[in-house]
């Protein structure tokens, strides 16, 4: 049954696009899309996710929202601590590298989140639509907590620009304005924009995952320098955090889809906002380590095995 669910999840255009691009790049085919496409598609996807969340937010009431909000704040604090402890003590990394990894695993991969939403929609599993708002919150808290962990080990770190990079940076800003526009305009009046933001969504996501497949393949070549412990933890940390997320979601009575979303929010690792913030705040940390772990290991793992597993956890818990 779980094997069937993995196959179901694998056979979607975005996931297959990712795997094919990854394998083709490993075989040294030049599948890279034009460089200028990447910022355009990521802009589009973040706005579309925000609009979708904002539209649902317009229909939700405060009483629906406060419990999931508190759970995501708690998860935002716990997930980087779990990642830090494992990378520092089980992975024997330095405080700075463990904090850099904690920033990635404490924040959220918007693409994993988006692939989960399309999987849930394809499998007709309902979820709370406002959860894109929680993504923005978890992303910020996760990075702040992780940078705080590194505080003792660094001198003269550039906290101010790192924090402003997270909060005002492109990913949170675009998501945020999408949510505001969606919430103010509301579902009915948003309908004319649906051909662009809803209709083109799956196609744009597929293009984006081709690009991510290429980048992940380039990162996989660095895997040897990261070491086997980091590879192992790149799978274990998301599983533990995903499980904690599912428990939290179930505890506040979210639907099956909502619990799966909470698991992905907690279990995925960022590779857009977090690397930029970490590079500025902790320039001594090794990008070969944190980008390889989050993009080369955890992202492909979550995309193929993680998502069906989190859905199965959600089904068992609700």
């Amino acid at each position: 049954m779980f094997a069937a669910s993995i196959m179901d999840n694998l056979l979607t255009a975005p996931v297959i696009a990712f795997l094919v691009a990854l394998i083709a790049t490993l075989l040294r085919f030049d599948v890279r899309l034009p460089e200028s496409l990447y910022p355009i598609i990521s802009t589009f996807l973040l706005l579309a996710i925000g609009l979708k969340g904002g539209r649902a937010l317009a229909a939700a009431s405060i009483s629906d929202l406060w419990k999931p909000l508190i759970v995501s704040i708690i998860l935002g604090v716990i997930t980087p601590l779990v990642a830090f402890a494992l990378f520092r003590f089980a992975g024997r990394l330095s405080v700075i590298n463990a904090s850099a990894l904690a920033a990635h695993y404490g924040s959220v991969s918007a693409v994993t989140f988006t692939v989960l939403l399309s999987t849930l929609e394809a499998r007709k599993i309902a979820y709370e639509g406002y959860m894109a708002g929680l993504l923005a919150i978890l992303e910020i808290i996760g990075i702040v907590v992780a940078l705080f962990l590194a505080r003792g080990a660094t001198e003269g770190s550039d906290w101010k620009s790192a924090l402003s990079e997270v909060v005002r940076g492109k990913s949170i800003a675009l998501l945020g304005i999408g949510i505001v526009i969606g919430a103010v305009v509301g579902p009915t009046r948003l309908a004319p924009t649906d051909p662009v933001f809803v209709g083109l969504f799956a196609g744009a996501l597929t293009l984006f995952l081709i690009e991510l497949g290429v980048i992940a393949a380039e990162r996989l070549r660095d895997i040897k320098s990261a070491g086997p412990l980091v590879v192992l933890l790149g799978v274990i940390v998301p599983l533990i955090n995903g499980f904690l997320g599912a428990l939290g979601g179930a505890a506040v009575g979210l639907s099956t889809g909502g619990v799966a979303v909470m698991a992905v929010l907690a279990g995925s690792a960022s590779y857009i906002a977090a690397p930029a913030a970490v590079r500025i705040a902790l320039p001594q940390a090794s990008p070969g380590l944190y980008v390889t772990a989050s993009l080369g290991i955890t992202f492909p793992f979550n995309l193929t095995v993680g998502i069906p597993l989190y859905i199965a956890m959600a089904q068992a818990l609700t």
Binding site: P39, I215, V291
Partner: protein, 99 residues
């Protein structure tokens, strides 16, 4: 045409530091700059962090003393932390009051 000798300072660095770098060269006295996105390879390997876009090449025309101040600032704040190189080239410009 009458020209005046100034210095063209060129900096190649990581695109994540773009805003920080612009603020820093301005505080050294640069009045203007141009930034382009570039890719390439150096002693530290291929330019990293592909996800944040390629590396940047920042150019600014400044007086000799500002050029020295910028290179000193880079030595103190960038060379040891970020994949960065910089150099200055003599330039002949018209309208020197703009720099």
């Amino acid at each position: 045409m009458n020209t005046v000798p100034l210095q063209l300072v060129t900096i190649i660095s990581e695109s994540v530091v773009e805003q920080k770098l612009i603020a820093d060269i301005k505080s050294c006295g640069a009045k203007g700059y141009s930034v382009g996105h570039v890719h390439g390879e150096g002693v530290t390997g291929k330019h990293s962090l592909d996800l944040n876009g390629p590396s940047i090449r920042l150019e600014t025309i400044v007086t000799e003393s500002v050029a020295q101040a910028i290179l000193d600032m880079l030595s103190a704040k960038y060379f040891n932390k970020y994949a960065t190189i910089a150099w200055m080239t003599p330039a002949q410009v018209t309208r020197p009051d703009r720099f």
